[in-house]
């Protein structure tokens, strides 16, 4: 079994079709993308005892929100810790561990719901599932970048698009399953969690076993690496332990953190925001349609912007986000003021494409700056920015809104100040992005270090065959 999972075992032979790798990556990301659809369980879980209504001992929405927050924190932590390990053991083993964590997380959560234990639910979905999320998220990234050196953005965009798409599958699927399993004595969550856990485990294991890594020195047929040195794209490699000592790493962290903080602020409050800003015009079901529309733009933006970044460059892509973003955020209160639902929807939809695009473009940005050797590990450490933003973004919007309402501001206008603040945050991100430059040569791996790593892999592959 150990041999079956080893990195050496999955070095692709000649003639391997690299287009098999994106579906493997998608299989994993479509499963872990369920995390964005956790809210579908909010009402059933808050009525797990009362069944038709919330009983006094039932969990509150605030208690349930902590499960998602813990999962996002452990996503970042496991990606940061597991990234270096992933580079050592390869995507198959890492994908399998991720499948075990994600599947087990659901099974433990199912038992937690059965015995009504919130701490066990936090441990199952939040901690163990969160580790599955983090490892699963970073697993395909470096492999895709090595298979698609000619289209790094598009390749990672495809996988990370799956994370957005996963929620679109999980949300209706969970609803169908809960409707199927619910009874007079159960809301159907226990059985739904078990079913989802099994489905996700099987799909993720299949994805993990489909992974192949290119042999050292492999490049796509007919493609030659650009001979002219670009201002930002390096042909060198930076070790993960050195990367975290560079200012570029922290500037990228700020860029990702601020982009996610701003986007999450909209995403989390989309439904109440549109209903309060356009009272009497937008119904609850139309608001649900609006959140669905935003998920489509969030997913589409991941592929669109990451692919665009292959043409215009990563720095320019983020510059577009941080120049266009503030205008759009500032236009949201204006849309409310003139009562234009169409303008509001258009602004927030474009904002959401840039939120998704920020996630999808960052791996290619990392590989441009730090090289491809440790891109998975560096990406993993950078994802702590997501964890931090996942906590801070919604909290910021909530607190500011409460403060505004406390000062007597009309609920319809209580989001205005937040929107202006988000626009300001994006301007700070613009400066951080502009400050990103080439990594100093002293951080580069030496030719001997690289040769040693390539020779070790080649030696192990040849010994196997």
């Amino acid at each position: 079994m150990a041999g079956l999972l080893s990195k050496e075992r999955i070095v692709a032979g000649p003639g391997f079709n690299r287009w098999l790798v994106p579906p493997a990556a998608l299989a994993i990301h479509l499963c872990i993308g369920q995390a964005y659809a956790l809210s579908v369980f909010k009402i059933p879980l808050s009525q797990a005892i009362g069944i038709t209504h919330a009983a006094p001992d039932d969990w509150t929405f605030t208690q349930l929100a902590s499960i998602f927050q813990i999962a996002i924190v452990f996503l970042g932590l496991s990606a940061a810790v597991g990234g270096k390990w992933l580079e050592r053991v390869g995507p198959r083993r890492s994908g399998l561990v991720s499948a075990c964590c994600w599947g087990a997380g659901f099974l433990i959560s199912s038992y937690a719901v059965q015995i009504h234990n919130l701490w066990l639910l936090r441990l199952g979905y939040g901690v163990i599932g969160g580790c599955g999320l983090g490892l699963g998220y970073i697993t395909p990234v470096s492999t895709l970048i090595r298979w698609f050196p000619d289209r790094r953005g598009m390749a990672t965009g495809m996988a990370i698009m799956g994370f957005g798409g996963g929620a679109m599958i999980a949300s209706p699927l969970s609803q169908i399953l809960m409707d199927r399993f619910k009874s007079a004595t159960s809301v159907g969550v226990v059985e739904t969690f078990v079913t989802l856990g099994i489905i996700y485990f099987v799909a993720m294991v299949a994805g993990a076993f489909l992974f192949r890594i290119p042999a050292p020195g492999w490049k796509p047929a007919g493609w030659t690496p650009p001979t002219q040195a670009s201002a930002l794209i390096t042909r060198n490699h930076v070790h993960v332990s050195q990367a975290v000592r560079t200012p570029q790493f922290y500037l990228l962290w700020v860029v990702l953190f601020l982009n996610v903080t701003a986007g999450i602020g909209i995403l989390e409050h989309a439904s109440p925001m549109i209903q309060e800003m356009f009272k009497g015009t937008v119904t609850a079901s139309a608001a649900a349609g609006f959140t669905g529309l935003l998920s489509l733009f969030n997913m589409g933006g991941r592929f669109f912007w990451a692919s665009i970044s292959d043409k215009i460059g990563r720095k320019a892509t983020y510059a577009v986000f941080f120049l266009l973003g503030p205008i759009l955020y500032a236009s949201v209160p204006f849309a409310g003021k003139i009562g234009s639902v169409a303008l509001f929807v258009a602004c927030t939809a474009i904002i959401l494409t840039m939120y998704g695009g920020g996630f999808a473009t960052i791996p290619a940005y990392i590989s441009d700056i730090f090289g491809t050797q440790y891109v998975g590990a560096i990406h993993g450490r950078l994802l702590t920015a997501w964890s931090a933003a996942g906590i801070m973004g919604p909290e910021l919007v909530n607190q500011l809104r409460q403060y505004q309402i406390g000062r007597g501001v009309d609920p319809a206008q209580s989001y205005n100040f937040t929107m202006y603040l988000m626009a300001g945050l994006l301007l700070i991100a613009l400066f951080a992005n502009l400050a990103i430059s080439r990594v100093n040569e002293r951080f580069h791996m030496s030719a001997q270090e690289l040769d040693r790593e390539h020779a070790a892999l080649l030696h192990a592959t040849m010994a196997r065959s």
Binding site: G15, F16, N17, W19, L20, P23, A24, L26, A27, L30, G162, G165, G166, A167, M168, I169, A170, S171, P172, A206, L210, V282, S285, A286, A287, A288, G289, F290, G292, L293, S295, L296, M299, V345
Partner: protein, 44 residues
């Protein structure tokens, strides 16, 4: 590898690619379709 064997490998590779894409594409298309139907409520 003979040219016939090579062609067979390529065809097999292409079939695997199509099957793999269908396996992830069909659930994703279903999810997108369901979401579009839900999103259409906004415009009613």
């Amino acid at each position: 590898m003979s040219s016939t064997e090579g062609e067979r490998t390529r065809e097999g590779g292409m079939a695997a690619v199509v099957v793999a894409w269908l396996l992830v594409g069909i659930p994703l298309a279903w999810g997108v379709f369901t979401t579009i139907r839900k999103a259409a409520l906004l415009f009613k």
